[in-house]
Structure formats: C-alpha cells, structure tokens
C-alpha cells in the first residue's frame, strides 16, 4: 500500500471529469503528490533527530519537540492529500452503481459516465467536499503553526527543562519554502474546484432554461 494506490484512484476519476477536473488531477499529481514523494518527505525525515536544545537535561528535547510539533507538517500534508482525493470516489461509486443497474435491467442511460441528473449532484457534492477539506487543512496549518511560519529558534520552558532553553529547528528555510509551495498549490486547487463548480452550475442552468423555453413554445 503506497501512494501508487492514490495515483490509480485519481486516474480512474479522470475518466469522468470535466476539462477543469482533469487539470485538477494533473496539478495534484505533479505539483503535490510528486513533490511530496520526491522532495518534501526527505526534508522532514530526521526532524526529531536534528532538533537540538541547548541543554543536557534528558527528556527536555523530547518534550519541547512534542510541544512545538503536535502533528508534523509532513504528516498533515499527507493527510491533506489523502482527504482531498477521496471525495472523487463518490463519483466513481455512482458511475459503478449506474452500470450495475444497467446490467440488471435494460439500457437506462445513454452513457453512464455522462455528468447529468443524479451524477451531476454527486459531482457537485464531491467538489464542495474537496474545497471544504482543502480550506479546513489550510486553517489547521495556520492555527497549529502560527501562520505558516517555521522559526529557526524556539524557546521552551516545559518540565523537565530546568529553565527557558533555546531549541533549534533543522532546515527551517527549506521547510518554509516547501510549506509556501504547499499553500500555493492548495489555493490553486481551491480556485480550480470553485471554477469547475461555477462552470457546471452555469452550464446546467442554461441547459434547464433552454429546455423549459422549448417546452413552453411547444
């Protein structure tokens, strides 16, 4: 079980997406998943070992690290990637449900993968969920780490540290750069999701309006 599973899941979703949806999948693959696996993971690999406090008191480093990093950035990033990709499963399930119905009865849908009717609602819900989860994680990052900041020095005075000790974080600049990258790609994905949402709502409301107009004329 690895990120390849997520990759295969997203490839499956790609089939039933709009054009903007496919751009979203490409952005998630290239700029989030690949950057995470190829670069970011290694920066945070030894973060605990390289976290150093100016004191010999045993336990002080552990306690301070735990206080300043309740959940590591890299774990939050991974959770965000997983959560944000999961709502697309709703669409896949709905299409599978449609295809199962067609197997048992006669042909019900012109094309089970076409986004209309119930599938449109499912698609819109998945978009709203994706956007919501992105925003939740960004807010979580902001609240936990005081605005996407990674200082090079933190002052810690939790027991068993005997007084206020200086603790040094490893590679703070590199971590900050990648954190900004994460935020930027998150915002890009939010914009793409909102764009897709507006496009679908606009498209289908025009379609509905035209249908009603045609019916009235008849």
């Amino acid at each position: 079980m690895s990120w390849a599973f997520l990759r295969d899941l997203l490839s499956g979703v790609n089939k039933y997406s709009t054009g903007i949806g496919r751009i979203w999948v490409a952005v998630v693959f290239m700029f989030r998943l690949l950057v995470y696996v190829a670069a970011a993971e290694n920066i945070w690999k030894h973060e605990h070992d390289e976290f150093e406090c100016n004191i010999k008191q045993p336990g002080c480093e552990n306690v301070c690290f735990d206080h300043f990093f309740p959940v590591s950035h890299i774990r939050l990033w991974a959770l965000q990637l997983i959560m944000v990709s999961t709502p697309s499963l709703l669409v896949v399930f709905h299409v599978a449900y449609r295809e199962t119905r067609e197997k048992h009865n006669q042909k019900l849908y012109k094309n089970p993968g076409k986004i209309d009717g119930g599938l449109l609602c499912t698609y819109l819900i998945s978009l709203i969920l994706k956007t919501g989860l992105e925003i939740v994680f960004l807010v979580l990052f902001y609240k936990l780490y005081d605005g996407f900041k990674i200082p090079h020095l933190v002052k810690c005075d939790i027991k068993p540290c005997p007084s206020t000790v200086d603790c040094y974080i490893s590679k703070p600049t590199e971590k900050r750069i990648f954190l900004y990258f994460l935020v930027a790609t998150s915002c890009l994905c939010i914009v793409l999701n909102l764009g897709e949402l507006s496009y679908l709502i606009f498209k289908y409301s025009i379609k509905c309006h035209l249908k009603r107009h045609v019916k009235k004329q008849q």
Binding site: S2, W3, A4, L6, R7, G19, R22, I23, A26, F29, M30, F31, L33, L34, V35, V37, A38, A39, N42, I43, H46, E50, E52, C53, N54, I55, H152, L153, D166, C167, Y168, I169, S170, K171, P172, T173, E174, I177, F178
Partner: protein, 262 residues
C-alpha cells in the same frame, strides 16, 4: 508514486513529439532523473548529519547549515525536473481532447470520419500542425524558461557551482566565527557540474526543436501560399500522404532505437 509514474505520463506524449523531442525525453529520463534517484540522492543523503562545525555550542550547526543551504541542491533538482516535465502535460491534454472529439464524431456516425473503429482512433498519431503546433511550441517555450530560471536560481543561491570544503559561520548562537565542514564536497561538485551540463544540453535541444518547428511552419506557409496561386489540391493530397508515410516510417525506426513504446 514516484518518478516511474512521470515516465508513464510522459511516455504517452513521446508518440506525438518530434525526433528532437524524443531525444530530449531520453536525456531527461536517463541522464537526469535516473542519475538523481540512483546516485545524487545518496551523495546528499547524509548532508546535515555529516555537516560538522568546530564548536560544541548546541544549535550552532543547525543555524549554520540553514544559512548556507536555504534549499538543498537535491530538492532544487527535483523541483526543476518536475517543473520542466509539466509543459509536456499540455500537449498530452490537447491530444486527449482531439482524440475525444474524433471519438464523438465516430459515435455520431459522421461520414467525414475516416477511421474504421475506436482502436484506430486510440492508436492514431497526430501530426504537429494547427492548434497542436501552438500548444507544442508553447510547451517548449515554457520548458526553456523553467530550465533557465532554475539554472539562474542555482547560480545565485550557491554563488557558482562549486561546493567549498570549509565555510565560516558566525550566526547566533555560534559564539564567534566557527569553521564548518561540508561532507563530500568534491563528489557534490562533480554531480553539480554534471547536472548543470545535462541541463545545458536540454536547453540546447529545446532551442533546436523550437527552431525546427518555426522553420517547418514558415516553409509550410510559403508552400501553401505558392500552391494556392497554382493548381489545387489533388497533387498536394498525394504528396502529403507520401510525406506522412515517410515520417511515420522514420519515427517508428527511431522508436525502436530509443526504446520508447507507448
């Protein structure tokens, strides 16, 4: 999920690239991505652990390392490779869109559609002309820009491409100017120069491909202008068919040589 997935994605684009584009892709995968994964990552693997400063002051090493390496070489290269590979996705999306349109035509039973079945549409290789030419050319242009930007960023951040053995650091909390020693500086310099050299080769290939596409475009245009003044189309159709066949033959030969199948 790793560089192999990128290979799968870009391998699909390979079919619709020019010959220079195919060479570029080979250089990218063999001399950059593979070298990065197989060798360079190991050289930089212990970079912070073996970065040693001549002081016992806790925190001094961390701060000095962060000061001299705001972003590690290996991460910069990984980002460069990702950004440089991304424009090819534009071409992949355009080709997928064209294929989708052809499938729609085929399903409607359009008389103009010259394909016998869906398999043929799926396997078809699109020529680089019309709107696909513009997409392809912009993707090469963006590739060039990204390569140049990253090369410059590298040069600017590390003040050249050499890795010094010794760095003098006096950032707080270091008590005074301390000597800090980088691990494996010569090996890192060798790999840095290698990656820069291959980057430059890729830039040259992209420039050559851009010139080739522009030349082809202007030649085609002048030919069309010349032909429209003379006789029309049936002679051209035979000529273009022969050209297409020649191109397909030469490209399939190259495919066998380079080993990319998609």
């Amino acid at each position: 999920m790793d560089w192999g997935a990128l290979h799968t994605i870009l391998g699909g684009v390979n079919k619709h690239s020019t010959s220079i584009g195919k060479i570029w892709l080979t250089v990218l995968f063999i001399f950059r991505i593979m070298i990065l994964v197989v060798a360079a990552e190991k050289v930089w693997g212990d970079e912070q652990d073996d970065f040693v400063c001549n002081t016992l002051q806790p925190g001094c090493r961390n701060v000095c390392y962060d000061h001299f390496f705001p972003i590690s070489h290996i991460r910069l290269w990984a980002l460069q490779l990702i950004f440089v590979s991304t424009p090819a996705l534009l071409v992949a999306m355009h080709v997928a869109y064209r294929r989708h349109e052809k499938k729609r035509q085929f399903r409607k039973g359009d008389q103009k559609c010259e394909f016998k079945d869906m398999e043929e549409i799926r396997k078809q290789r699109f020529r680089i002309e019309g709107s696909l030419w513009w997409t392809y050319t912009s993707s090469i242009f963006f590739r060039l820009i990204f390569e140049a930007v990253f090369m410059y960023a590298f040069y600017f951040m590390y003040d050249g491409f050499r890795m010094p053995r010794l760095m003098k650091c006096n950032a707080w909390p270091c008590p005074n100017t301390v000597d800090c020693f980088v691990s494996r500086p010569t090996e890192k310099t060798v790999f840095t120069i290698f990656m820069i050299a291959v980057s430059s080769i890729c830039i040259l290939l992209n420039v050559a491909e851009l010139c080739y596409l522009l030349t082809k475009f202007f030649l085609r245009r002048s030919k069309r202008a010349g032909n429209s003044k003379q006789q029309p189309n049936h002679e051209n159709k035979e000529e273009t068919k022969q050209n297409e066949m020649n191109e397909l033959i030469s490209d399939s030969c190259q495919n066998t040589v380079i080993g990319f199948s998609s």
